[in-house]
Symmetry: C2
Subunit: 295 residues, 2 copies
């Protein structure tokens, strides 16, 4: 998905928020802001939002501090989510459809996102809502079918804290999972350290994608990650930034997310707050099938 | 109040929203966006948000269309507010403190603001909340005292629809009111036409400020308005943009508003959703009084 014009206010907000979090002075924030305004004037039309965000946060890092602006927020989100972990496990254990419940819990965790917003709502009400809510897009039958025919999952993580919700889903999956964290700090995205703090080292093989862009920007990822992605028989991609990166990446990719902004909503064709299990490239596949049927 | 860096994302959002409302093409929206990005790079530190917004919307007008992007939204807001008018009047009539109820109703109407947000919440629940809510800043005793010692009020209006709520307050005031609309369309601010549609011609002397900037940017207002403002013994200034323009304009000015964004919240020292009756320059006055007491 390309960066829409409506994403631009959000890039400015992210830059100012990150700068504030590393204690930038007024003058430093002015320098960051002007650099981001200049960057936004030069974006080519096919750039994805994660690519722009990568450059925005690089400006903050190079202008003010290489420190991780979201370190404290990430630790707090993880601690808050871990406090819910026993309750989340119980929901799955007591469910008539444990996999569906675990998928929903993983999507509920996607509410923790400092890229899309500055204030995270209470987690437990979000879980309760997502458990009852109909899917806005539901390709979970396709996901279940794939899960029965592969021997491993490449799970592209999203944010710290959301990691704990991912863990609940991963522990409900019947096959080994390779969990991909970011190669360096970006927004509140989980690094390997954040993934370990969520206990993901206990149930997955942890690796990083070699990049400190949000989502999955292949040109910025390591060769090792790209190779593993290419070979993966099934990819679960969490969150908006992975949707922005991989919405047309083909039918082995399933995006699990909560729609948190009107721009994603417009792109995906669903309202804000919708919960989504979406197989990438689905429309094209459908079209191909229709085409075959006609022959 | 100067434009904070945190206002910049909002200026971009306003430009894109206004462009979309006049049916701009993708290419036109790109031109507007780049022009606004360039504008924001050149803002001097003491510029107020209404001054920036004036230039932002001038860019939309000059690039795409001189049509009023908010014409339909304004008509809808006014119609929606007029439907509540009998209920609002009854609230005042049945109140133990009619003036307080009328002040609160006028502030409740300030929820209608396409500058601060894109989606207006339901009006009636907003009224009910504001009737019960403690003031975040309450200089209404000072306002009442002034009202008893002057023979007229200059009432600086804000948005279409909010005009109906202003009418309820104005009809509860014991002295003549001169109601100031904008000299031309800007955001969903009320022009004379919008004020007439709200029935304000029936209870006030209507005039315009000669400007199509939000709030009150004196350098863009007519000489006739400036002269009337200077002579006015009491000014009631509605909404965030008038607060941004007049927060330090001296003790004859009372700003009535609902805090709708964190930037105003930080400037005014109150949380978002707070309701405010604030005498401008109050801190200085307090300081002077303390100083006198020490002598």
């Amino acid at each position: 998905m390309r960066a829409y014009f409506e994403c631009y206010p959000c890039f400015l907000r992210q830059a100012l928020s990150a700068a504030r979090r590393v204690g930038a002075s007024e003058a430093q924030r002015g320098v960051v802001l002007r650099a981001v305004l200049a960057l936004l004037q030069d974006i080519s039309p096919d750039t994805t939002p994660p690519e722009v965000a990568y450059h925005v946060h690089r400006i903050v890092r190079e202008t003010i501090s290489a420190a991780d602006p979201y370190q404290q927020a990430k630790a707090e989100s993880t601690a808050e989510a871990l406090a819910l972990y026993p309750k989340l496990k119980r929901l799955v254990a007591e469910s008539a459809d444990p996999l569906d419940t675990a998928i929903r819990i993983s999507i509920a965790g996607n509410i923790i996102d400092f890229g899309a917003t500055e204030v995270i709502a209470d987690l437990w009400p979000a879980v309760e809502r997502v458990l009852e809510q109909p899917y806005a897009i539901d390709h979970s039958a396709q996901l279940r079918a794939r899960l029965e025919n592969v021997d491993q999952v490449l799970y592209l993580g999203d944010n710290a804290g959301e990691t704990v919700f991912d863990r609940v889903l991963i522990e409900a999956l019947p096959i080994p999972v390779f969990y991909v964290a970011k190669g360096g700090p970006i927004l509140n995205d989980a690094t390997i350290t954040d993934a370990v703090a969520a206990g993901l080292d206990q149930c997955t093989t942890l690796l990083d994608n070699g990049s400190n862009a949000p989502g999955t920007v292949f040109s910025l990822c390591s060769e090792a990650f790209r190779s593993r992605y290419t070979r993966a028989p099934l990819v679960i991609a969490k969150g908006q930034a992975n949707y922005e990166s991989l919405s047309e990446a083909g039918d082995k990719v399933f995006c699990l997310l909560r729609v948190k902004c009107p721009v994603i909503g417009e792109d995906i064709g669903q309202p804000v707050d919708g919960i989504v299990v979406r197989q990438s490239g689905q429309e094209r596949i459908q079209h191909d099938k229709d085409h075959l049927r006609c022959q």
